[in-house]
């Protein structure tokens, strides 16, 4: 079946990382989200993918490389100035023919199991338009569906207000739709929600329930959840033969890649991942659910816990990074602390695009954008966002030399 994969969205809530990359290029569990998606599509038997790109598409094309674009399996369409899902889809219309059904995939969706298999199977049951649905704790962000006893969707309530007290299965971002759908999109000026309503009105939209894990990679803390979902499936340790380990304690399942090095006195508590070429100094404590990308440097005596460090970043000595996501090429100075809990132990709210969003998590640290520079000795409040390329000075308690006489 032909597939339409939407990667062009701006991912505005994935701040600060969305400034420098599309959501599909968020690293999770040692790969990028797009790698997982393409791999799942491939193993579901999908041979031909039409990928709509847009926001920061150069990051995606650099990663996939020319090979991916020329072998005919992936056809790339630029969505240009299209600002909605529907208008981005319409750009790809010519790639499909009347009578086709196609698999529509939002590239922000992540599951450790193959969600596309279910979509294809569910479609095969009736050969009717099909939407995958799932349960989430945050139904107010998605289209809530009403189902009848035959798994037909009878109604979709988009983003119901919390006080409406609605909470059912939501649209999971994976569909099998007919070519006619482009017609509905045209009619509704590229409004995906209205176009789906047209399907409900004019034909049948079947649902299939996805019960396995499901994440919409929307907010920066979703990176941590995705890492956990991947790593909780690990049941063995995998250390590349080139890795240098010196008196290191390793507990639980860990993956340590090519040419990584860990110095004496360090402790690795799995599940954890250490990317190729990364260096971990002496006496470092790496606690569960930590993912460190390639070519990173973790300074002596640092502690890392439930965090993601993208490629080429440095964490200075005696720092603590917990429940946080650190972008690529970030330099964190020595003795920097991410504080990961509010003093009242309430859930942490994060300022995202001018809105305070409740993360629902009582332990949450900081999100540091690609290329940021954080000076030594900074104490970072829970839920802080540091933009990419931002420069934060050292935080000296003794900023100047006290002179020859010394302080009084």
């Amino acid at each position: 079946m032909k597939t339409l994969l939407l990667t062009g969205g701006r991912g505005v809530n994935m701040t600060p990382f969305s400034k420098t990359r599309p959501n599909s290029m968020i690293p999770i569990g040692g790969d990028y989200l797009i790698d997982h998606t393409l791999q799942s599509l491939k193993s579901a038997g999908i041979g031909s993918i039409n990928m709509v790109v847009g926001h920061k598409s150069e990051v995606l094309s650099n990663h996939l490389g020319d090979d991916h674009f020329s072998d005919g399996n992936i056809h790339v369409i630029n969505q240009g100035k299209s600002s909605t899902i529907g208008s981005a889809m319409l750009k790809a219309k010519d790639r499909f023919a009347p009578g086709d059904h196609f698999l529509l995939v939002y590239a922000d969706i992540f599951s450790t199991s193959n969600i596309f298999n279910l979509a294809l199977q569910a479609f095969g049951l009736h050969n009717e338009p099909t939407a995958l649905i799932c349960l989430t704790q945050s139904g107010e962000k998605y289209g809530n569906v009403y189902l009848d006893g035959d798994m037909k969707i009878t109604k979709i309530i988009e983003k119901p207000k919390k006080k409406a007290g609605l909470g059912n299965y939501v649209l999971a971002g994976v569909y099998v739709l007919p070519y006619r759908f482009f017609g509905y999109l045209k009619k509704t000026r590229g409004n995906m929600e209205l176009a789906l309503q047209q399907v409900l009105k004019k034909e049948t939209l079947r649902a299939a329930i996805w019960e396995d894990n499901w994440l919409d990679m929307a907010f920066p803390w979703d990176v941590l959840a995705a890492n956990r979902n991947i790593m909780e499936l690990w049941n063995s340790t995998d250390i590349h033969h080139s890795v240098k380990l010196n008196e290191t304690v390793i507990k639980g399942p860990v993956k340590i890649c090519k040419n990584a090095e860990i110095c004496a006195g360090s402790v690795l508590e799995g599940p954890a991942y250490l990317g190729p070429g990364s260096f971990v100094g002496h006496n470092v404590l790496i606690r569960p659910n930590t993912v460190i990308g390639s070519d990173c440097v973790i300074g002596q005596g640092a502690e890392l816990k439930n965090c993601a460090i993208f490629d080429n970043s440095t964490v200075g000595r005696l720092s603590f990074i917990g429940d946080s996501v650190v972008g690529a090429g970030v330099d964190i100075g020595a003795g920097t602390m991410t504080i990961n809990r509010k003093i009242d132990k309430k859930t942490v709210r994060v300022l995202i695009n001018g809105k305070k969003i409740d993360s629902g998590l009582s332990k949450l640290g900081a999100f540091i954008g690609d290329g940021a520079l954080v000076g030594a000795s900074n104490i970072i409040a829970p839920g802080t966002i540091i933009q990419s390329e931002e420069r934060i000075e050292h935080n000296f308690s003794v900023p100047k030399s006290t002179g020859t006489k010394g302080r009084k």
């Binding site: 049951l125 704790q137 006893g149 798994m151 299965y169 329930i209």
Partner: protein, 607 residues
């Protein structure tokens, strides 16, 4: 719902065909049959009452032979479960044989017309009308295809039909109108099926028929045409990506959830059961000096819920005895009525309770789901609940339908005994009519909240399920659901019991669920809340399943599932559905074997 299968090949297909209907058994399994045609065009038909393996053994299906055949597994909705009524049906001269799924609404008129022409009917089915109609058309037109199409044009209602005929060997004719049918395309054989479970073991290539189309299938090819115009329709062959079990669940991850979602429709059906049947049962109940209701497991709790409805609305308290204990406790005599509740109609303990009653000359009655079962055949009064096949071992929809039937009988009995007025009964019936919608709303608006609570509390290994009045048996039934599907310990009891001992258990490791009555049931409401407060006072966790109130103060619950304001007559039933979801989501979080929990069987037919 019934299942149709057909195979056309150039070698013997008997075993494959029997396998096909076995895979369609989930669509219904009260009777079945096969028709096979050999190379010289002789059709042999074999059929009987029972599930596929049972009938296959009884009728020696596998000793038959043929390279073309059609088969059927039936779930009766109209017409009794008898050998004569089971499919396939043949024309008088045996030249045409068909299987049919659906309801032909003009069959009475057609039967009269055909009767005038001398056709004799062996069964009460609409299917036999179709086969005679085809035969009649063939006599007139001389062509099988024209006869088939003309007959289809005369049918009103819904159908999926497969036909073989001695007049046109080597082919299966089939058609569809609002009942499912599709073709399977194999390398050396072709297939017909109600769904692709019929042939998925042989091919994954399928052609979907649409309403108002017919197809002619040989072992090498197939052609699809419109019934109305006779024009050929081009249809692509689709590759199916579906395994057997998933297909039968129709997109739901488990039968349990599928059956939970069928409940609005099942309640409708229970409400559509003929009033005369309900009245007859009510009369039987009040005319005897002693009235017993018996069931075991879930059906025992169903009986208990019935007991409260009889008490509250008919002013009588039936004796409710678990059927495994029946013979040790029940003093039945010729002045007793024993009403048994069973989904399968084969439950061993309940059958022995009925036998015990019959031996003491008591009148017997039953509310059951499977037509033609042992209980159906032995009792004096029978109500068939019409809930369709229930596959999940955990009973959800069937149990709910039984509660509704009991509530209806209680209302009738109340009117007969002048305990309530006919007007009051009408109001309650109207409230019952609101239940399907209320369940639909509950499923579609609360599932995520119930899921969130189940997930959050899934580490808890001990639960108390508490209720008062009619909500007490609801609590017990809900606790049983939790136990059987999630393997989590749950104890259902009257909330009044708490302070007489059980409250000593309250701690961090034990959660409570309080089935809270509607605000209108003032006493019950107040008393139930005070139980919740007792637990909260000891720092216990309480999940309240309650209805919207006008009260300003916060109710004493740690978490709550708030249902819309609901008439008290149907409120307990709605809470039953909440409990279904709560136990389902707890079990999915704990990754239990939902449809086949360990150590349990669907129909317990042993002592």
């Amino acid at each position: 719902m019934c299942g149709i299968a057909g195979i056309v090949a150039h070698e013997d297909i008997t075993a494959k065909l029997v396998d096909s209907i076995r895979n369609l058994e989930y669509r219904g399994y009260d009777s079945c049959g096969v028709a096979l045609m050999n190379g010289s065009g002789v059709i042999s038909v074999s059929k009987n009452v029972g599930a596929v393996d049972e009938v296959s053994e009884k009728e020696n299906f596998l000793k038959m032979s043929g390279n073309i055949g059609i088969a059927h597994t039936r779930w009766a909705t109209h017409g009794n479960v008898t050998k004569a009524n089971s499919h396939p049906h043949s024309s008088g001269n045996k030249a045409f044989t068909i299987t049919h799924n659906g309801i032909v609404s003009n069959h009475d008129n057609l039967r009269t017309e055909l009767g005038k022409k001398g056709y004799k009917f062996k069964s009460g089915t609409d299917t036999e009308v179709i086969v005679h109609l085809i035969d009649d058309q063939f006599k007139k037109l001389g062509s099988v295809e024209s006869a088939f199409v003309n007959a289809m044009r005369k049918l009103e209602g819904t159908y999926a039909i497969a036909m073989i005929t001695a007049h046109d060997k080597g082919k299966i004719y089939c058609s569809r109108m609002e009942s499912p049918l599709l073709l399977g395309v194999g390398s050396d054989a072709n297939y017909v099926g109600s769904d692709f479970n019929a042939f998925i073991n042989y091919t994954k290539s399928a052609v979907f028929l649409e309403d108002g189309e017919y197809a002619i299938v040989t072992h090498e090819n197939h052609v699809v045409k419109k019934i109305a115009t006779g024009k050929t329709v081009e249809r692509d062959v689709q590759e199916l990506q579906w395994d057997l079990e998933m297909a039968q669940k129709g997109g739901f991850p488990h039968y349990m959830l599928k059956e939970i979602y069928e409940q609005p429709q099942i309640v409708h059906r229970a409400l559509d059961i003929d009033g005369a049947e309900i009245r007859e049962m009510a009369k039987a109940a009040i005319n005897q000096k002693n009235f017993f209701i018996t069931g075991v497991g879930t059906t025992f709790y169903v009986a208990q819920i019935g007991q409260y409805y009889f008490s509250n609305y008919a002013g009588i308290t039936p004796m409710v005895i678990s059927s495994d204990e029946f013979r040790f406790l029940a003093q039945v005599d010729s002045k007793s009525l024993v009403l048994a509740i069973s989904q399968s109609g084969e439950t061993y303990d309940t059958l022995s309770a009925l036998r015990h009653a019959k031996a003491r000359k008591a009148k017997t009655a039953a509310i059951i789901n499977v037509m033609g079962s042992s209980m159906a055949r032995m009792v004096d009064h029978l109500v068939l609940q019409g809930s369709g096949p229930e596959i999940c071992v955990i009973s959800t929809k069937a149990a709910l339908a039984q509660m509704i039937v009991l509530a209806r009988i209680a209302l009738e009995a109340g009117v007969m005994r002048k305990h309530i007025t006919a007007k009051e009964a009408k109001t309650k019936e109207k409230e019952l009519r609101k239940l399907p919608n209320a369940i639909d709303k509950l499923l579609n608006e609360q599932s995520a909240f119930i899921h969130a609570i189940a997930k959050k509390q899934s580490n808890i290994r001990h639960w108390l399920f508490l209720g008062r009045g009619r909500y007490y048996p609801v609590a017990r039934e809900s606790a049983l659901k939790m136990k059987e599907v999630s393997y989590v310990h749950a104890e259902g009891m009257p909330s009044g019991f708490l302070k007489h001992g059980t409250i000593a258990l309250i701690d961090d490791d034990l959660n409570s669920v309080v089935f809270t009555p509607t605000e209108d049931e003032k006493d019950l409401f107040k008393l139930t809340l005070s139980s919740a407060e007792e637990i909260r006072a000891r720092n216990g966790y309480v999940l309240g399943i309650r209805f919207k109130t006008k009260l300003k103060q916060k109710l004493p619950f740690s978490d709550e599932i708030v249902l819309p304001k609901t008439p008290s007559f149907i409120a307990p039933f709605l809470q039953v559905v909440v409990a279904h979801l709560l136990s389902y989501f707890t079990a999915t979080t704990l990754k239990r074997n939902i449809d086949r929990p360990r150590a349990l069987a669907k129909s317990v037919t042993v002592e």
